[in-house]
């Protein structure tokens, strides 16, 4: 319902999504902030720890005992871990905001409790996508670069990313149908 004259398509009310959804958005945002702060303060320590984990898993990383080759492998794994931690920071900040604004739109424009709940669930799961980069960072060190990336992509990044896309498609569909505030 709007407080505007007839024919005016501007809605006066912006509804709040369920508290659990708001909680997840704030939590992911906070983890993103903390991740960024820790990453900048503990960068050398993180790199040292990552390098030590590579050395502790020689088979997973295919270390050969040749110093030059092993150093190259170690550097690439450490770089992948640092990049994943950096992606966690940026994606957590971004997807938390996506969840906040998209879930607010879902609460405000989507008819039907079930449809609303389904979209809120998809968007909330999608907001957990950045956690995939934490899995990525750890898995690369424990399983080797290729195995770690495959694990994170297959089991975390792809399903959660698809959930976000499905949620946004559903919201776009609801907006395209052009119905008024529930």
């Amino acid at each position: 319902m709007t407080n505007h004259p007839g024919g005016d398509t501007v809605g006066a009310i912006v509804k709040r999504p369920p508290m659990l959804v708001v909680f997840v958005a704030v939590l992911v945002l906070t983890l993103g902030e903390l991740g960024g702060a820790l990453l900048s303060q503990l960068r050398p320590a993180t790199a040292r720890w990552a390098a030590a984990r590579v050395v502790a898993n020689p088979a997973a990383h295919g270390l050969s005992g040749s110093a030059e080759y092993d150093e190259d492998v170690r550097d690439r794994a450490v770089f992948a871990t640092e990049a994943a931690l950096s992606f966690f920071h940026t994606h957590a900040e971004g997807l938390a905001l996506v969840l906040f604004f998209a879930a607010t739109l879902v609460a405000s424009v989507v008819h039907g409790r079930r449809a609303r709940a389904a979209l809120q669930t998809l968007l909330t799961a999608g907001a957990l996508f950045p956690l995939g980069y934490l899995v990525y960072a750890l898995a690369v060190l424990e399983l080797g670069r290729d195995g770690g990336i495959q694990l994170a992509e297959t089991w975390v990044l792809t399903p959660l990313g698809l959930a976000a896309i499905a949620g946004l498609l559903g919201l776009a569909g609801a907006l395209a149908r052009g119905r008024e505030t529930p």
């Binding site: 509804k15 709040r16 508290m19 704030v26 945002l29 938390a96 905001l97 604004f101």
Partner: protein, 178 residues
């Protein structure tokens, strides 16, 4: 029919929204200026660094000095980019988080404190990158970073993190109670 207050968002105070919009505007202008005046900015930074050889460890050997200058210019440029990105992001974070705070915190005194933490922290943090970039040619990469850290990143980033942790507790409790 209007839904009950609890089911809708409340707008944060106008001053908070103004701060977020000004920050967003600064980010956009900063990004545009970086692109438009890239050469001029690099020239200024280089001239400032050459004028302070001791600060940057310039030894007068072209091969060595060029590498040092390139590294400092790269950081100078990175600082400006990080300002642009963080200012855009934090402006949206301010809008989202203060909307949540304005809606969920009913008592005026704690609400004011939370809004202040989120707004001041959100606006001040990205300015640290601008400060760092400006300081690099004058005092060097590491000294500039230390100043930016203590003047902006730690106090303002800390304020944002405290505000966010407060919101996590608040929304977590509300979610559990329902």
């Amino acid at each position: 029919m209007t839904p009950p207050d609890d089911a809708t968002w409340r707008l944060p105070p106008r001053l908070v929204l103004l701060a977020a919009v000004v920050l967003l505007l600064t980010a956009e202008v900063g990004g545009a200026s970086m692109a438009r005046f890239k050469v001029e900015l690099a020239r200024w930074a280089r001239a400032e660094m050459i004028a302070r050889p001791a600060v940057h460890g310039l030894v007068g050997v072209r091969d060595v000095d060029e590498r040092v200058l390139d590294e400092a210019l790269f950081r100078f440029d990175a600082g400006l980019r990080l300002f642009h990105m963080h200012a855009e992001g934090m402006a949206l974070v301010i809008v989202a988080t203060t909307t949540i705070a304005a809606t969920l915190v009913r008592r005026p005194a704690p609400r004011r404190v939370l809004l202040a933490l989120l707004t001041v922290g959100g606006v001040g943090y990205p300015l640290g990158y601008l400060l760092w970039s400006t300081l690099i040619p004058v005092v060097g990469i590491e000294r500039g970073k230390a100043v930016a850290e203590w003047a902006c990143w730690i106090p303002f980033g800390g304020a944002t993190i405290v505000g966010l942790l407060w919101l996590v507790g608040l929304t977590g409790l509300r979610a559990v109670r329902r």
